[in-house]
Symmetry: C4
Subunit: 281 residues, 4 copies
């Protein structure tokens, strides 16, 4: 029990570092485009920053660190499906949150001069000189409340469905190292197809942590008031969508198994090796 | 017989889901660029949405689902070459169509606010506020009827030729998982080189399904009248081009076999393993 | 002897097809950007068309076609180094040329409407409505004769050096299928770093074939007069650069072998397997 | 001893060539965008030039050249950690410097016409017609001295941490050849997220060598005076950041080892194979 706790704590520390990097590169790409007023990048370069997912994942493999998840939505999905103990969830989620908070702080430090110059020293959430969007999700002007909710549920459902499919070991042998590349491509794809409504948060910890940072760093309570209290949508909707996507995949697989009993065996055999221990994003 | 029918039905269900995702990401990328008037993406990001092909394919592998094809053109080519039973063709094509229809509906749902704001509530097929082009192919102003036909035949012929080549198992060992990446790159390549005439539909089901959706969803019969009754060209021309490409490849291979009988044996040996069961796009 | 001749002929046929595709996708990307006046792509999408190199190569592997080369520069380099029979060179080069010619014709057919609309029916080599640059290389306004020569020699030398390095089997095991991806990335890289002077032709056949096509198709003798008789530079300079690059690589390897005799053996062992038969681009 | 010296010298020669290519492609991409005033590329194409890192690395593998490092920061980190002899450091660093100097000279030769036309013959370090930024790092107008220092330390720390992680052999089997692709993606990612402050130099030799070249080639002593004597920041800060990143990674690993002794053994086993001989960038 004590060992488990110790391992959890150290895992949390590593998760915290991984999350910092994730946050750092992702928000950095946005900071660069915003503060250079588009001369140093465009919408596409922000999405390319999404390749960031490749590297934390890789780092993780290095650490031989089983059971790490970089997205609380994914952790929750596994808990619901009974593949992950519920008791680890709180500590994991907390370290996600703290990592994202500190990652946002590092980005602010690195782009402090640029943000000050761009905003004229005034940290705003809305308007042409707004800088809060560098750190977390705000809805586009055209987006209604329900529209945002639907957008997030659909996007996260598709994302989780693809993630689960990519990780499924019943899948033939996917070369090591190609996995993060495909996840990176998936996120890039989603960014170019589902990012204009509210920036496809997908990850509650990655959204709330930086929002808390901007709250304390000078953007003030406007970060929670903006968009008619929008802040909780990118936290709640991804969980709904994530469960939907995971369950859809499971049902597809079930349907398949019923009809092909001979293949089922092969699947089960591979299933035994499927430890679900390397899911991290 | 009954089992075959059951399997076909379930396959159709999965194909329907795959197709929805395909449609969702592809059209989403277009919706994002159109409704943001170019601030959230450009022509390149739409093409990058083509990486979508990687993921449905992967999902398929996961399902151990033999015989699935995501493009009716490819299914027909295999039927003509005698490698696929004709009787499966109708059900497959129908599920393609229904999946594409529902995928388009989901995109409309997700971008409802954005499309309403962009178009001022009026769903138009042509003009500066047109939104029908998000969902399916319309010819560019400069394109003549014959020009469009040639464009589609050439593009699909090249596409199918490359697809068949990539899948040919006589090919040395292609690492698992790299295949969808190469297909994604192929489609990206074709998008940047053959997309400006009429948007390289390549896939009849992916074009007709969404067109039917826009027809019932409020764009009206103009979706069939536009471009001088253009709608049937992206349905018929890809079949012609697809057959042309497949036959060209077969002839190239035949020519080769006649001259290198020693290699032919090796090929045949590998040919035995070539089940043609994993062709999906 | 007769068999050799027959094989050569059929090889030439396949090379001709491969070259047509190469030309088709490469020039198509340029046609799309030029005729849409930049709305359907930009400088980057033209370079992305360079991923075309992946697919012909792949097709080649499929055919088990040893000894095929898609770039006469590379063929010549191998002849000079004594690794390829000189007598095959003329037929190969001819089929390159014919393939590139017909590829250019297909692009013209596919973009006939677009080119007519863009140019107002007048096929020009220079000026704001020029369309000849879609098909082959012309020097930028700032480029002097010697500048162009240096540019081409440096670019092709670097290109060949990297190609030879990538193909060297003394190299550890490079996964099959990754090779074309790396060559594609190499060409993309060169396009973004060495393309603005005169469009990095790199390949004499790919430049001369389409130039001959534009000559007969209506652009007239201006295609040879433009740039002060520029046309022969992208034919001669790549050969000079290619030899330079190949020789540089050989010298680097030699220098290495002298100092590490123990490794040399290993190299030689692997060298035995190095048939140099799969070089195609 | 003499053999060691001879090997070092030859290694230095190869490093010098590799570095030239690195410099050539990287600076070439910048030269192209600057001198074409943005018509032949944009901020993204400059970053894509970063894929250059793939090819020198590959060349290196070919040469069976153990112990080569393309970044003095990395060499120093290994020396500090006791994995690399200190005495090799000076010769290595010198050949880096000379290679980068000559690479810059080649770029100037290749873009001589373009730079002369763009700048009107006047080689300037600042202002709208400045061309010095093609070759090495200068701070953006908004960047303070401390801001630049923090930017460089954070960026290089993250870079080295990811590099060390990617190379760690305790890591599961990473397919050969995928490594340079991932490093290329990493650098692309960093370019889009951390390049707008001062162009993410990351590599002291790649910054100082070209700066010395511009100093002698006509830009004059302004290259050292600009930005308030900025020149030494991209030389010193990467060393600080690199050590920070390497040490952080080592600590993460240590923390892990203490808790999972059973895995440690496996790690050590693999550790034996970990010769740290293929680190090159």
């Amino acid at each position: 029990m004590e060992t488990l706790l110790r391992r959890c704590q150290i895992r949390s520390q590593i998760l915290f570092f991984l999350f910092m990097h994730l946050q750092l590169i992702g928000s950095g790409a946005a900071a660069q485009v915003v503060t250079s007023r588009g001369t140093h990048g465009n919408y596409l370069t922000i999405q390319l920053g999404s390749i960031r997912y490749c590297f934390p994942h890789r780092t993780h493999d290095v650490c031989f660190f089983s059971g790490a998840h970089l997205n609380p939505v994914y952790s929750l999905s596994l808990c619901v499906l009974g593949r992950h103990p519920w008791k680890k969830l709180p500590l994991y989620s907390l370290s996600h949150l703290v990592g994202a908070f500190l990652g946002a702080a590092t980005v602010y430090l690195q782009y402090y001069d640029a943000i000050q110059t761009f905003s004229g020293g005034e940290l705003l959430v809305a308007g042409p000189n707004a800088t809060a969007g560098i750190f977390c999700s705000y809805p586009a002007d055209h987006l209604s409340f329900w529209g945002g909710l639907v957008d997030q549920v659909v996007a996260t459902a598709l994302f989780l469905l693809c993630c689960v499919a990519l990780e499924d070991q019943r899948n033939g042998p996917l070369p090591d190292g190609l996995h993060p590349v495909l996840v990176g491509a998936l996120i890039l794809t989603m960014g170019v197809s589902m990012g204009s409504n509210c920036g496809f948060p997908l990850n509650p910890a990655r959204d709330l942590g930086p929002r808390l940072f901007t709250f304390v760093a000078g953007w003030g309570e406007e970060v929670f008031k903006a968009g008619g209290g929008w802040w909780w949508v990118p936290i709640v909707a991804p969980f709904v969508g994530g469960l939907l996507g995971t369950v859809t995949y499971e049902l597809l697989i079930e349907a398949h198994h019923q009809t092909t009993p001979s293949e089922k065996k092969t699947c089960s055999g591979k299933m035994g090796k499927q430890t679900h221990s390397q899911h991290i994003f």
